[in-house]
């Protein structure tokens, strides 16, 4: 498969989630800044974005590292679920984009606000 064709859907996945994150981050910052101080709003919203990013990156790499082992474990212990390593990776990639988007959105919105 050509590199472009391989990259395109992956970048789209990250970019769409990232765009949603930027908007969500900026809106959350503005909403929180109306009830508390802008510094507090910036810190907390950025930290929540970082939390999502950290969790997602960890989830993604965990899926790559141990996904097949978990699938094997589930089938051997007769606890079959529909969980697959590929689905998990895609979901985590979306969350990576969203979390990073929130962090960027908050940073930009704070810079514009102050």
């Amino acid at each position: 498969m050509a590199l472009g064709a391989w990259l395109r859907p992956r970048i789209r996945l990250l970019a769409t989630a990232g765009a949603v994150g930027v908007v969500a981050g900026a809106l959350a910052l503005l909403a929180l800044a109306t009830v508390r101080t802008p510094e507090f709003a910036s810190t907390q919203t950025f930290a929540v974005g970082a939390l999502v990013l950290g969790f997602a990156v960890l989830g993604w790499s965990g899926s790559v590292l141990a996904g097949s082992a978990v699938e094997t474990l589930q089938s051997h212990l007769d606890t079959d679920t529909d969980w697959t390593e590929q689905d998990s990776r895609r979901a985590m990639a979306r969350l990576v984009g969203f979390g990073a988007g929130v962090m960027v959105g908050v940073s930009v919105a704070t810079a514009l606000l102050t």
Partner: protein, 350 residues
């Protein structure tokens, strides 16, 4: 043979894992209530003094600046200095001192789990639906279900208080032996010292008294942490072995006249071990987590106890450093497991 490309690919995965853990820990610490500058200064310190500490630590900078600085320092392996736990000491030094204690505990726990879990699993599978199988399964289920904070005090009560066979806490009889740190692993250090004393003055059992003391202190905590490991490994081994012994190639080997034991150990065990080995890797993470509780129950001052203490006093650099080290170890163990896994089944590398 395991290819270098496969190992390099796995090593590259260390980067996102450590980045994810670092980000997660940073976010959690930022979201948790309280002020580290206040924790350092003390509750009675003036506001001005607290502000001064905040400025010194860069806590007033915008959060993305703090985040960027934290990531850059982490990449440079600069984990900072401890705020409160061991004030002013580099986190790296603290971790180097504490890590061997937890590693030793987890390794012996894992060893007990593997050495007992695999044979129990095989016996259980071979004697399927007999009394031995039922007893082993009940044992495994109990082992998985019993939490360490309950099984720990229970073994102390039985083996230390009632029977008086083993010591209850610590790593060695500190009043009798002074240990010179070599590797930090107390059983190894005391053994090496015993050998040195033997070479200097001839063999005497008393040369190894410190080693025996260290081993006797290790048995209960390692057994406590190993019970859970043993239970899971035994359960996995049983189901995996049952699946393998029903395969055609096992039947063929038996039909050709090969003995039951040789068929089982030569053809069956290798294939049955594949899923078990992956579980052992995942399980090592649980052992490190379990070490936090075990260290507390048995009063062993390892990295787990350090983590709990650092969280209590909001010592950010120590918490971040400790969690990063845990993640690094977990990933390295998984790499080892992957290599073992692909050595057993070369198709996995593709």
């Amino acid at each position: 043979m395991v290819s270098m490309r496969f190992i390099a690919k796995r090593l590259l995965l260390l980067v996102p894992v450590l980045f994810g853990v670092a980000t997660l820990v940073f976010a959690i610490l930022q979201l948790s209530p309280g002020n580290p500058a206040r924790a350092i200064a003390g509750q009675r310190a003036s506001e001005e003094f607290v502000r001064q500490i905040e400025r010194e630590l860069g806590l007033n900078d915008p959060i993305w600046v703090q985040y960027g600085r934290f990531l850059v320092e982490t990449v440079q392996l600069d984990l900072g200095d401890s705020y409160t736990v061991q004030r002013g000491t580099p986190v790296r030094t603290i971790l180097v001192n504490k890590l061997p204690i937890t590693l030793e505990l987890a390794l012996y726990g894992q060893l007990i789990g593997i050495l007992l879990g695999i044979p129990f699993g095989i016996i259980s599978a071979v004697k399927q639906d007999t009394l031995t199988d039922h007893l082993t399964r009940v044992g495994a289920l109990s082992g998985i279900s019993i939490p360490i904070f309950w099984s720990g005090p229970l073994v102390i009560l039985l083996f230390a208080q009632i029977l008086g066979w083993l010591p209850t806490s610590g790593r060695i009889d500190a009043q009798r032996f002074a240990i010179e740190g070599i590797t930090g692993l107390i059983t190894v250090d005391t053994f090496v010292q015993g050998i040195q004393a033997t070479l200097a003055s001839g063999f005497a059992v008393s040369n190894f008294a410190a080693f025996f003391s260290a081993v006797s202190h290790m048995i209960l905590p390692a057994a406590t942490i190993g019970i859970y490991s043993m239970a899971l490994i035994s359960r996995m081994m049983r189901s995996s072995m049952l699946e393998v012994i029903r395969q055609d190639y096992i039947r063929t080997a038996r039909a050709k006249g090969q003995g039951a034991k040789i068929t089982l150990m030569k053809h069956g065990l290798r294939n049955a071990l594949i899923p078990v080995i992956t579980v052992i890797g995942i399980q090592f993470g649980s052992l490190l987590g379990g070490a936090v509780l075990t260290e507390t129950v048995f009063a062993i001052g390892g990295i787990g106890t350090l983590l709990v203490e650092a969280i209590n006093v909001r010592d950010y650099p120590v918490v971040q450093g400790t969690v990063l080290v845990f993640a690094f170890l977990f990933t390295l163990v998984n790499l080892g497991v992957d290599i073992a896994y692909s050595a057993l089944d070369p198709r996995i590398q593709q």
